[in-house]
């Protein structure tokens, strides 16, 4: 499995993805500069976290016009996997690969802390490595992470089983206390209807090594590698 990590000006979790996928999971990884118009020999694209273009207009709004995004859209249309993490998720919604939007946290503050997530779908290509009915712990680190979508989109997401992760209590209950940013229906991560493009606000790449917080992020990347091998 070869991962390509897109680097926008202002990306800052690019190297975290690179290091972890390469050293903790042993994948082949390369960086893709946002000015590239094409890429070769890449199986899975990662849009990493950070503050592309300072997130100055709206998170992800300017990055979606980067030259590389045409090639990313083509990659998506081919059915190849794309993972957007944090700012990457925001970019995926701005460019229209995923529905909805990510708004200011309800508290109006940047929040960094570990959150509990309930795995909602066992059979998605991104979550099949997780065991049934368990919660995982990943950190969030964002100011604009409140997922919002209109009622008909929500119904569609629910009916098609496209909500992959929800914020929950440690036991897996969907509580207000377990929802750090006010996301609608506690949504933390979703995929497109074809099941090859996924975005989530929490950071799985920060949980690949036991000495820095744990390994709850590993099954996500392992699932992708297996499903799209």
């Amino acid at each position: 499995m070869r991962f390509g990590i897109v680097v926008f000006p202002g990306s800052n979790c690019d190297y975290d993805c690179y290091w972890g996928l390469k050293n903790d999971l042993g994948f082949q990884v390369s960086f893709l500069w946002h000015r590239q118009r094409s890429f070769e020999d890449i199986d899975c694209i990662i849009l990493p976290g950070g503050f592309s273009y300072g997130d100055y207009l709206r998170s992800g709004a300017i990055a979606r016009f980067s030259p590389i995004m045409e090639a990313v859209l083509k990659h998506a249309r081919k059915g190849s996997p794309i993972i957007g993490i944090c700012n990457g998720f925001q970019i995926l919604t701005e460019v229209g690969l995923l529905p909805g939007a990510l708004l200011r946290n309800e508290s109006l503050r940047f929040i960094h802390r570990p959150v509990h997530l309930r795995i909602e779908q066992q059979d998605s290509k991104f979550t099949k490595g997780y065991s049934v009915n368990r919660t995982i712990e990943l950190p969030i680190a964002h100011g604009d992470g409140r997922y919002f979508a209109s009622q008909h989109i929500l119904t569609e997401l629910e009916n098609e089983g496209r909500i992959l992760f929800r914020y929950s209590s440690p036991e897996g209950r969907l509580t207000a206390a377990g929802n750090p940013n006010g996301s609608i229906n506690n949504i933390a991560g979703i995929c497109n209807s074809e099941g090859n493009v996924m975005g989530l606000m929490p950071h799985p790449e920060r949980r690949l090594n036991a000495s820095v917080g744990g390994t709850d992020g590993r099954p996500l990347f392992m699932s992708v590698a297996e499903a799209f091998a």
Binding site: L57, R58, A61, I62, F65, E94, G100, A101, L103, R104, N105, E106, S107, L108, R146, F148, A149, S150, G182
Partner: protein, 81 residues
Amino acid sequence: MLVKIVITPKPEILDPQGKAVAGALKDLGYDEVSDVKVGKYIILKLSPSPGLKLEERVDEMCRRLLANINVESYTVEILEG
């Protein structure tokens, strides 16, 4: 030529900034305030290209980049001068 664009959250979207400001104004005794929306105000300085409709161009800028039309609405004011 100046173009002024005001972008606000759509009415159905929770606007925590607006809520916070409304609460603060109420606390200060401004009971007449019933709702607050906090948005963005963008000023464009431009020279219109001949043969292109300014209104349409600006509307396109709003839709493509300046506003996220899923969650935001916008108004455009074109000022001569």
